[in-house]
């Protein structure tokens, strides 16, 4: 295992210290239990947004804490859901009296731990609602599984719901927007290489030099099928084919196209894939009116990418364009 670390057991903690030091103006970091909050939290009268999950997906979620997006992020151990006491403390720290929305990626561990925290928060008279993100079309049959996973769509939900909260929407309205984004967004990912969890020390799976994994999750868990390496255009067609037919997206739709790197993919390949995706959607008459390209929801050093497509309406577009000031996404301010 080759990593720039000191000790596999203190990776998350040391990185949190680094984040706090690099973004002093933006965030504060608490330890025991660990969470990241907006420096100016709580914002009185504003609905607060809390998300979280295992670490190793950076910048998700800590990089999205700040004005116009999350109020707090709760990092678990690498690839392991955070615990209820972390989530509870974060929820209490950022509650501005207008209630708290939990944005939860659909994994058994995340759902169970956020549920427990929400119960505990309710017992302390904090109004909490939750949206469970499940945008991964790689998981096909939901009655036979734990349901679709939350992946790239999470970033878009956090941005758009964050903007709704910033403009003053109440908890019910912010929750409804988050749910509506989740309903209109679809994603799918693939990997060329595995990743290695620091405390495990070994790759999460193995792939031959001529193989790739289609439908990969963001935890190094294998995906839908293992196939021979293919040209970028074919990979993109596989991912977007599943995405487009699932919602379905149709000719004339306005969309946000999000090409996401898994952490170890060079930007030149992401832009190449973005071009390929642009062509694919153009052929289908689907308009791309907003875009995002880069490493936003990652799997440590995994090489690969995911594609996320969100059907935009005017409200989503406005909320997407609204100012945001976080470590990883910033515009208009």
């Amino acid at each position: 295992m080759k990593k720039i670390i000191n000790d596999p057991t203190t990776v998350v903690e040391e990185a949190l210290h680094g984040m706090a030091e690099a973004h002093r103006d933006l965030i504060t970091v608490q330890f025991e239990p660990a969470f990241i909050a907006r420096a100016d939290a709580p914002v009185t009268g504003k609905v607060a947004l809390v998300s979280g999950g295992g670490s190793g997906h950076e910048p998700l979620h800590g990089g999205f804490v700040g004005a116009g997006m999350l109020d707090a992020a709760v990092p678990g151990a690498v690839f392991t859901s955070p615990t209820p006491d972390q989530i509870l403390d974060a929820t209490k720290a950022v509650d501005g009296g207008a209630g708290v929305l939990h944005i939860v990626k659909n994994y058994t561990g995340d759902v169970l731990n956020f549920e427990t925290a929400a119960e505990l928060a309710a017992a302390e008279d904090i109004e909490v609602s939750a949206v469970v993100i499940d945008d991964d079309v790689a998981v096909k049959d939901s009655t036979w599984t734990a349901g679709r996973r939350g992946v790239g769509g999470t970033v878009l939900v956090e941005k758009i719901a964050g903007a709704a909260a910033a403009r003053g929407d109440d908890l019910a309205a912010v929750t409804a927007i988050a749910q509506r984004v989740n309903a209109q967004v679809r994603s799918m990912g693939m990997a060329l290489t595995p990743c290695t969890v620091p405390h495990s020390g070994e790759p999460s799976f193995t792939l031959a030099e001529d193989e790739m994994e289609i439908g990969i999750g963001i935890h190094g868990e294998p995906g839908r099928e293992r196939v021979k390496l293919a040209p970028a255009d074919e990979i993109v067609a596989t991912l977007l084919g599943s995405i487009v037919e699932d919602l379905p997206f149709e000719a004339g739709d306005n969309t946000l196209l999000f090409v996401n790197g898994m952490g170890g993919t060079p930007q030149i390949e992401l832009y190449l894939a973005y071009h390929s995706a642009s062509k694919y959607l153009k052929d289908k008459g689907i308009e791309v009116t907003r875009s995002l390209v880069g490493n936003y929801i990652t799997s440590l050093e995994m090489q690969g990418m995911s594609i996320t497509l969100l059907k935009l309406d005017d409200e989503f577009t406005q909320l997407w364009d609204a100012p945001v000031h976080t470590a990883a996404l910033r515009w208009g301010v």
Partner: protein, 210 residues
Amino acid sequence: MVCDAATTVAAIRAVAATVAEHRVELTHLDRDIGDGDHGENLSRGFTAVITKLAAGSPETPTAVLKLVATTLISTVGGASGPLFGTAFLRASTSVGAAETLDGTAVAAALTAARDGVVARGKAESGDKTMVDALTPAVNAANAAADGGRGVPEVLSAAADAAADGAVATTPMQARKGRASYLGERSIGHVDPGAQSTAYLLRALAGAAAG
């Protein structure tokens, strides 16, 4: 042997030792069909339990079990944290004020634990989860208790059944937890949570026998 607070603590220490011993193996099982952290998760949790116990042992079985529950909930994370946490919490409630436990009380506690896991995780038998180790264990424990056996025999029957239950998850296709994403590719592997459940019960049985 009486099953009181001290022996409960001793049994929990035995569980922690077992978890440490099988940490890497459990993580490997989870790498095959999950995300490769199950051994680490449990090990983090039981290390914290040992630290808490070192700071001062509770005086009743229910208090010991509750300490384990809250510590696991607040340190394990993942799917197994709330599930094992709930299991110990329900067991703690089940034993109630009793200062010593007999075979029947232990079987009832195991039943409550299993019911808690099912209530939280909504897994059914055959879904390839820890429930597939817990339910046979509960059935065996109740049969032993109904037959008038003491704590060591009840736990030993539960451990045997859980071990068989864990092995029996191998041909199953997962329908809950991360392994379910693999669909048919989850077939042919032991479920890590079922395996850890079996180890845990074996350690409890060993402590009760010893």
